[in-house]
Amino acid sequence: MSRYFTEDHEWVDVEGDTGTVGITEFAQGQLGDIVFVEVPEAGKALTKGGDAAVVESVKAASDVYAPVSGTVTEGNPALADNPALVNEDAEGQGWFFKLTLSDPSELSSLMDEAAYADFVAKQ
C-alpha cells in the first residue's frame, strides 16, 4: 500500500485500484474542531481536483477535492455521528471516502510522504 498527498492537503492510500481518501493531520489542525462532514455517496464519479466532500469547522466550510479520478464506492459512515473523528485520527479512522481509481497514472503527479512533509514545512 502506498500513500500519496496533494498540495490541497488531501491524502490517498492506494491498494490495487482502490483508493481511500482523507484530509491530512496538518489540515485538521488548521481547521480546528470539525462539526460536520459531507461525504460523497457510492456511485458518484469524481474528477481529479474536483469537489468531492465538504468539511465544516465552527468558523468555516471547506471543500475537499478528489486527489485522483474515480468512482466512489463508500463514504465513511462513522463521520455522520462523530465528525470529531477527523480531529482525533485524520489519517486513519477519520477517512472520508473510498473510490475505484479510473486512471492510476494520475498518482505520479502527487507527493509522497517526505515531499509532503517538506511542502508543509514551507507553509
Binding site: D8, H9, E10, I23, A27, Q30, L31, G32, D33, V35, F36, E38, V54, V55, E56, S57, V58, K59, A60, A61, S62, D63, V64, Y65, P83, Q123
Partner: protein, 394 residues
C-alpha cells in the same frame, strides 16, 4: 482542500511595505500562539487553542479579547463654547437615541443613520463623567473597526463645526468577558464590582488610568477596558495571570455574539437595512420617536407602525450541517425570499444556528422554513433570540 481557510500570516514578514497595520498587542498575540489573520485592515488573532474550547471557556469562566481595531472616539464642543452650542443635539441629528437624556457614566447602544434611515454603523455611546482619563467633557463612543474611517468622515460632514472629534488611535481596547470576569478584574482594579451593565467609570491600575464599561459582545457579564496602547501588554499579561482568564480570538467572538443574537455590522446590518427591519427598534428612544426628528424617521416610524416587509430573525437549523452567510431563504414557491446573514455551529448548543432576513409572513417564532445552500435544501425553525440567554449584571 480549499486554500483560503488554511492561509494565515503568522509566518515571518517578507520585508515589504506593511499594507496591514499591527495593533498594540500584535507581538503579545503571536507570543501566545495566536493565529493571525487580516481583519478590518489589521492583523488580528482568529484563535489560540481553537474556536470551540475558547468559546466554551468564555461561557464558563472568562476570556480576554483584543478589540483595539475598533474606533474609540471623543466628542466635545470647542472651547470657548458659543451660545447655543449643543453637542447632544448634534449627535441626535445622526443617531435615533436619546443622547440628551444620557446621564454621566451611562452607556447606550445606538445606530449611525444615513439620511434615508439606512444603518451606517452600530455603536456604543457613553456620557463622560467629570472625572475621566481623557480629560474631556462630552461623549465617548466605540464604533466598528471596519467602518470607523467612514463614520468619522460622515460625522465631520454632518455635525456643526464647533463639535470636535478625537479619534484615539493610540488607545487599546480590551474586552474581558464571562461569568468570572468580575472576579478576575476586581483582583486588579478595586471598585469594578460597583459598575452595572451599561455603565462606565474611570479607574486606575498600576498607576495607569483606565476607562472601564460593564458591557460587551458575548451575552455574558463582562467589561470593556480602554487603556493607553503603551500599557496594553502589561495589563493583558496581568489579566491572563488570573486563573479565570485565557486569551480568546475573533473566531469565538463571532460564535459567542451569534449565540447572543447580536448583529454584526457588514453582515447582519448595512446601509440598506433600517432599525425596525433589523429588529433593533429598542434603539429608537421614546422621545425621539415622538419628535420624529431622526434621519429616515418617516420611513422608520411607518415600518414600526405597520410592521416591516422583511425582518431579521433567528433560526435553529435542523441536522448538524451549518448554514452560513449567503444561503437563500426559500418561499413556498421555491424562489428566494430572503438571505442568511450569519450562520455557524453554536458550541454552547451543539447545533447549527443562523440569523436571516425573512418576509414578514415567515417571521413569527415557530415558523418552519427552507434554506438553500450550495444546491442543498436545509430546514430551520424561526426562533426568538438570544439563542443562549444573556447573563448581564444589572
Amino acid at each position: 482542500m480549499s486554500e483560503a481557510d488554511l492561509i494565515d500570516d503568522t509566518g515571518p514578514d517578507d520585508g515589504g511595505e506593511p499594507a496591514i497595520l499591527p495593533l498594540p498587542l500584535d507581538a503579545w498575540h503571536r507570543a501566545r500562539g495566536g493565529r493571525m489573520v487580516e481583519f478590518a485592515g489589521y492583523h488580528m488573532p482568529v484563535q489560540y487553542e481553537g474556536v470551540m474550547p475558547e468559546h466554551l471557556w468564555v461561557r464558563e469562566s472568562a476570556g480576554l479579547f483584543d478589540v483595539s481595531h475598533m474606533g474609540q472616539l471623543l466628542f466635545r464642543i470647542e472651547e470657548p463654547a458659543e451660545a447655543g452650542a449643543d453637542l447632544d443635539g448634534a449627535l441626535e441629528s445622526v443617531l435615533p437615541g436619546d443622547i440628551a437624556g444620557l446621564k454621566q457614566g451611562r452607556q447606550r447602544y445606538s445606530l449611525l443613520l444615513a439620511e434615508d434611515g439606512g444603518i451606517l454603523d452600530d455603536l456604543m455611546v457613553t456620557r463622560l463623567p467629570d472625572e475621566n482619563p481623557f480629560d474631556v467633557r462630552g461623549l465617548y463612543m466605540v464604533v466598528n473597526g471596519a467602518t470607523k474611517f467612514d463614520d468619522i468622515a460622515y460625522f465631520l460632514d454632518q455635525l456643526p463645526e464647533d463639535v470636535l472629534i478625537n479619534h484615539m488611535e493610540d488607545q487599546a481596547l480590551l474586552a474581558l468577558q464571562g461569568p468570572k470576569a468580575v472576579d478576575a478584574l476586581a483582583r486588579l482594579v478595586s471598585g469594578v464590582r460597583d459598575l452595572v451593565f451599561m455603565t462606565a467609570a474611570a479607574f486606575e491600575w498600576d498607576g495607569k488610568p483606565l476607562w472601564i464599561a460593564r458591557s460587551g459582545y458575548t451575552g455574558e457579564d463582562g467589561f470593556e477596558i480602554s487603556v493607553d496602547g503603551e500599557h496594553a501588554e502589561a495589563l493583558a499579561d496581568a489579566l491572563c495571570e488570573q486563573p479565570e482568564v485565557k486569551p480568546i480570538g475573533l473566531g469565538a467572538r463571532d460564535s459567542l455574539r451569534l449565540e447572543a443574537g447580536l448583529p454584526l455590522y457588514g453582515h447582519d446590518l448595512d446601509e440598506t437595512i433600517t432599525p425596525v427591519v433589523a429588529d433593533l427598534g429598542f434603539a429608537l428612544s421614546k422621545r425621539r420617536r415622538e419628535a420624529a426628528d431622526f434621519p429616515g424617521a418617516e420611513r422608520i416610524l411607518a415600518e414600526r407602525e405597520n410592521g416591516p416587509a422583511v425582518k431579521r430573525v433567528g433560526l435553529l437549523v435542523e441536522g448538524r450541517q451549518p448554514v452560513r452567510e449567503g444561503a437563500a431563504v426559500l418561499g413556498a414557491d421555491g424562489g428566494e425570499h430572503g438571505r442568511v446573514t450569519s450562520g455557524g455551529f453554536a458550541p454552547s448548543l451543539g447545533a447549527p444556528i443562523a440569523m436571516a432576513y425573512v418576509p414578514a409572513a415567515l417571521a413569527a417564532a415557530g415558523t418552519r422554513i427552507q434554506l438553500s445552500q450550495r444546491g442543498k435544501v436545509h430546514h430551520a425553525t424561526v426562533t426568538a433570540m438570544p439563542f443562549v440567554p444573556h447573563r448581564y449584571v444589572r
